[in-house]
């Protein structure tokens, strides 16, 4: 049976562990009886288990740790010369008799550590010997673990300043030399792993390498812990040597990790004083290295350092940190041609954050950064990456954390707007959903140029077309702000409202509607949620939203844009209806009616408005009889008072629908329907007469035809008040009107009537209940 790779590995690991344990058992026996020869024999056999090539780094580590624990016991034994009777110098030779290199070197490192402790030889000499001898293991994984063992056992024995192994001032350098060399060798092994074995398992190998990276990085950590590594030494020796290795290894994974490591393990002060060297290495890295993250982290660290104490600020100025960083970023962007735009922008974000924190007073720096960024963006194709978009947002929002408005003022108006448009467009393009009030806040701060008039902006230069386009974009943007969570959504709405309210009369007609609809969407959403949301603090209730809406729409009155306001009121009323909130709906209608009465003077607008009112009112079911009566009465009243007779007529017959809702529970007041229709007929008649008198020709017959259609509608719907005879007479009336000489016949009217008649014929012929009903009518 074939075992899968993992099972195989488990098996091999188990065998390895068994081997270690078996030999460790005999080693313990030898240790207990102080038998050096046997102890060496069994420890070497135990260590031979580490010669395996079958284990992944993860499993190998497990095996290594077992052996590691056992070696501690052996080390204790070696330390006590009275137990084995061999001087440490002889012991150092003795373990080198082992034929296999791996066990030999593990034993050598173990004895070496005791040797240093005994101080019979300078730590420097022993360390140098050990690190040299370890070259014999060239297998990446085995070599890495061996050297990591060396690093481990030597850590507390480095001839550091103040350490007991220090002999003179020179020895610190020896300690550094030792760690650097071990680091270099380990890194070489680590990098080499990438190029060994078949190519198809590349991904797996990268994963494995990642698991091993801390073994390499540990050396840098050790370096940073050496007391003797002062700034001078770091600058002159440590950093150049480490960077040399990083650059020369030409390995993406290693370069990224090690750069990051350097930044994390050494003190901020060192970084600041060696910025040039450190940054100088960046453009030399492989093009695929995620240098932006590295630099971002560096800048983050430095800016944290800067704010940690006011005393360090002069240092920043002295080393011209900003200029260096800015320069380096420019170089990196130039060097890494393939860097996605998101990378470039995020670099600028970091730089900006850095300068904002470190040099809050240097607005020109901010200007530089943004300028560079705009330049980069303008030369690039449109942003297609949502991450890039986010970075743009971050870039522009960064200064806002610091100064809020100062900064945007700093940019000229044009740039400001361009930036804002870029942001919005990219959000649109990527359908990026902005889902928290905070982000919305930031976003609106950014696109402020579009939201409101900026101080001193030259209003007259505005191009109307551009303005409309901008505002439409804003309107579209508002629809992109969405969160499933109603609480958060309400917050978003409030935030948006807050901002757009500042927009002034020219913008509000563009921006209020999307806001209202956005809010109404939330209302519907709430309605779909079953039960009350038992929020402790001001749950988002429809009522609350309606209040907000009411206030919002009111602002349109002063714009003024009454038609828009009216439409929105009606929309709200309908939504309130759906929520079963009669008083709210009533209030909205009241508002709408008041608007109608007070603000809408244009007759055409009135016509449109009245039809909207009627249409909305018709659909509303929430009102009680009294309220409904009041409203319908008002509506019919308005209808009858329209200026032009045909408009009156049409409005009035439309009102008939207010009394007949074709629903199960809908109101069905046939009598008042008939009244409306009769009234409409009267008006149509009057219109006809007026036409005759005024122009000497008959008015449009089409009104009659239209009324006929209404009759037919209600007739079919079973309004008993509408009789076949009434229809019959209306048909005749129309026929005669059409035949009268004075009538100027509109072919369209004729066709309309003809098709109406055809419809009646059709219904008659269809038979059934409807056919019977139509039967009495003769066309």
């Amino acid at each position: 049976m074939m075992l899968s790779g993992d099972e195989d590995e488990e098996k091999w690991l188990a065998e390895g562990i068994a081997g270690v344990q078996h030999n460790a058992f005999y080693m313990h026996r030898a240790l207990d009886s102080n038998n050096l020869r046997e102890a060496l024999k069994y420890s070497a056999q135990m260590l031979s288990e580490l010669r395996t090539s079958k284990l992944s780094p993860h499993k190998y580590y497990e095996l290594y740790m077992r052996a590691f624990d056992e070696l501690r016991k052996l080390e204790m034994f070696f330390k006590d010369e009275s137990r084995h009777g061999v001087s440490i110098i002889d012991l150092y030779e003795l373990v080198q008799h082992a034929g296999n290199i791996l066990p030999r070197l593990y034993l050598l490192c173990t004895v070496g550590s005791v040797y240093i402790k005994s101080k019979e030889a300078p730590a420097k000499e022993v360390l140098k010997d050990l690190v040299e001898m370890c070259r014999g293991v060239q297998h990446p994984i085995r070599g890495l673990f061996l050297r990591s063992y060396l690093a481990q056992v030597s850590r507390d024995k480095l001839p550091d300043i103040g350490s007991e192994y220090e002999r003179d001032a020179e020895t610190v350098m020896d300690a550094v030399e030792f760690v650097l060399q071990n680091f270099t060798e380990m890194n070489k092994l680590w990098v080499r792993m990438q190029h060994q074995g078949p190519g198809r398992v590349r991904e797996k190998r990268e994963k494995e390498r990642n698991e091993l990276r801390d073994l390499v990085g540990k050396n840098l950590h050790v370096l940073s812990q050496i007391e003797g590594v002062d700034l001078e030494m770091y600058k002159e020796n440590v950093l150049p040597r480490v960077l040399e290795q990083v650059v020369n290894c030409k390995d993406e994974l290693a370069q990224y990790y090690l750069m990051d490591c350097i930044i994390q393990v050494f003190p901020d002060e060192y970084h600041l004083q060696t910025l040039e060297t450190l940054l100088g290495a960046c453009p030399q890295l492989q093009p695929t290295v995620d240098i932006k993250t590295v630099l971002s982290r560096l800048m983050d660290r430095l800016s944290n350092y800067a704010v940690s104490s006011a005393d360090v600020l002069p240092e920043f100025l002295q080393v011209e940190a900003f200029a260096k960083l800015s320069n380096a970023i420019g170089k990196v962007i130039d060097a890494q041609v393939d860097m996605p735009i998101v990378g470039a922008i995020s670099l600028y974000v970091s730089l900006l954050t850095f300068t904002l924190r470190v040099h809050p007073d240097r607005l020109d720096y901010v200007d530089q950064v943004l300028g560079a960024c705009v330049k980069k963006l303008s030369s690039a194709p449109k942003l297609e990456d949502s991450r890039a978009t986010k970075q743009v947002v971050a870039l522009l929002s960064a200064p806002l954390d610091k100064y809020n408005d100062i900064l945007m003022d700093h940019l000229d108006d044009g740039t400001n707007k361009v930036m804002a448009m870029v942001i919005i467009q990219s959000i649109m393009k990527n359908s990026t959903c902005i889902s928290t009030a905070e982000k919305v806040e930031v976003l609106f701060e950014l696109i402020k140029g579009l939201i409101k008039d900026l101080d001193g902006a030259a209003q007259d230069e505005l191009d109307e077309e551009d303005f409309k386009e901008e505002q439409n974009s804003v309107a579209r943007l508002i629809h992109m702000l969405y969160n499933d969570d109603s609480e958060e959504m309400l917050k978003i709405i409030c935030t948006v409202r807050k901002h757009i309210m500042t927009g002034g009369p020219k913008r509000l007609p563009f921006t209020v509607p999307p806001l209202v609809f956005s809010a109404l969407r939330l209302v519907r959403q709430l309605q779909n949620q079953d039960g009350d949301v038992a929020g402790e603090e001001e749950p988002a209730t429809p009522k609350k939203i309606f209040q907000l809406l009411n206030q919002t729409i009111e602002t349109l009155l002063y714009v003024p844009s009454p038609e828009m306001a009216l439409r929105l009121y009606l929309q709200c009323a309908e939504a309130a209806n759906d929520c079963d909130l009669e008083p709210v709906a009533y209030e909205f209608f009241t508002q709408a009616f008041m608007l109608y009465e007070e603000e809408i003077a244009d007759s055409k607008a009135q016509v449109t408005a009245i039809h909207l009112i009627i249409g909305t009112l018709q659909r509303i079911s929430v009102f009680g009889i009294e309220n409904r009566d009041t409203l319908t009465h008002k509506a019919t009243g308005y209808s009858a008072r329209l200026l032009k007779k045909p408009d009156q007529c049409r409005a009035v017959y439309a009102c008939s629908h207010l009394f007949w809702v074709d629903d199960q529970d809908g109101i069905k007041d046939g009598e008042r329907v008939l009244l409306c229709l009769k009234r409409a007929l009267r008006i149509a008649n009057a219109a006809q007469q007026m036409a005759n008198v005024a122009r000497g020709s008959s008015g449009p017959v089409v009104l009659f035809v239209e009324i006929l259609n209404k009759y037919l509608y209600f007739f079919e719907k079973g309004n008993t008040q509408i009789t076949a005879s009434a229809i019959q007479s209306l048909i005749e009336l129309i026929t005669s009107e059409m035949q009268s000489e004075s009538t100027t016949l509109d072919p369209a009217d004729n066709a309309f009537f003809a098709s109406t008649k055809r419809y009646i014929e059709f219904q008659k012929k269809k038979g059934g209940a409807m056919g019977e009903k139509y039967d009495p009518i003769n066309v």
Partner: protein, 348 residues
């Protein structure tokens, strides 16, 4: 049955006892003896290699006194596989001592003379039983006569020339032996042998160049290796390094072997036997171009002998360092270099 056994028993027991050949040493030891009578015995118990004998010798002025004869004993592997401890000498030393002959149970021993020979022999295993004596010294100890009771004969070979070292090889053996013969006309002569070992010490060579060489397979593998010396003593350390100039094969590991090449006979009859005495792993895994791998090989754990060149036209023993690279397909690439091994005076 006793009489039967008695019939095959030699007529007498011969024992050979060595005395240290150097008077100077004896005098010093005489003084030591007087001072450290007790502690030396403690020393005896402890040391395996050093045997302290107390015997009667005649000093230069004829007075009989107590002296201590000290010589080193070293292990020697016998033909039957047993290892015995035998005395150790070097060339130009005096080999002296005494022989005592004790007749069995008071019988008298008639003989045609008693002699002691010091023989240096080379024995080829393919020519078993035939010894070639390259050294043969004889001392007549007694004229024909009869021995009635235990009789002791002192003997001495002064400044004996023993140019070759004792050697136990695969096909050849070089040994030194003391042979005491009690010649008898009938019943056969009584012969007793006593082996001893000869080791000769060499001063450090005045010229001892390093071995440095670049080898390779074209476009495949180029290495440069260096051993710090070409002549090593038996307890020496080989220090060196291997530098990889070009690596296009997947190397699995690299070993350094010590090989002993023993050639016996001459001309058409030459037999060559090669043994690998040490196999020491130098490198694990595949190096890349530019890597340099250190060598440090201690010779002391291995049973080496000095290099023997053309010993009496009979045999040679040469040593080689063999650098072996093994690739992932287990192909071996190697380069062999001769090194000279010599014996350096210890404690000097």
């Amino acid at each position: 049955m006793n009489y039967l056994i008695g019939a095959f028993k030699p007529a007498c027991n011969i024992s050979i006892t060595f005395a240290d050949g150097k008077n100077r040493k004896q005098v010093i030891l005489k003084l030591m003896w007087l001072c450290l009578r007790t502690s030396i015995f403690a020393c005896c118990m402890k040391s395996v290699k050093v045997l302290i004998l107390i015997c009667n010798v005649h000093s230069a002025d004829g007075d009989e006194c107590v002296a201590i004869c000290v010589y080193t004993k070293v292990p020697l592997k016998k033909e039957n596989g047993q290892t015995i401890m035998v005395p150790l000498f070097q060339s130009q030393e005096n080999i002296s001592g005494k022989i005592s002959i004790e007749p069995v149970l008071g019988k008298k021993v008639e003989h045609n003379g008693v002699k002691i020979e010091l023989l240096g022999q080379i024995e080829m295993y393919f020519d078993r039983g035939n010894f070639y004596d390259f050294t043969s010294l004889v001392r007549e100890l007694d004229v024909p006569g009869e021995i009635y009771e235990r009789k002791t004969y002192p003997f001495e070979f002064s400044t004996v020339e023993m140019p070759y070292e004792t050697y136990n090889g695969v096909n050849v053996r070089l040994r030194y032996v003391l042979k005491v013969t009690v010649s008898r006309g009938y019943g056969g002569s009584v012969v007793e042998y006593q082996d001893f070992v000869v080791r000769n010490y060499t001063p450090p060579p005045s010229i001892n160049n390093s071995i440095k060489m670049e080898v390779g397979i074209e476009d495949c593998l180029h290495i440069e290796f260096e051993y710090n010396k070409s002549k090593y003593h038996l307890k020496d350390v080989i220090i060196g390094k291997i530098y990889f100039l070009l690596v296009r094969i997947k190397i699995k590991n690299m070993d350094l072997e010590i090989r002993r090449r023993e050639s016996t006979g001459s001309g058409a009859n030459t037999h060559v036997e090669t043994e690998t005495l040490a196999k020491f792993e130098l490198m694990d895994g595949a190096p890349v171009r530019g890597e340099s791998i250190p060598i440090r090989l201690f010779l002391s754990p291995y049973e080496l002998t000095p290099t023997h060149r053309n010993i009496n036209n009979k045999f040679s023993v040469k040593y080689y360092l063999n650098l072996v690279l093994v690739d992932e397909e287990d192909r071996r690439y190697f380069k062999q270099q001769e090194i000279t091994i010599y014996r350096l005076q210890e404690n000097s």
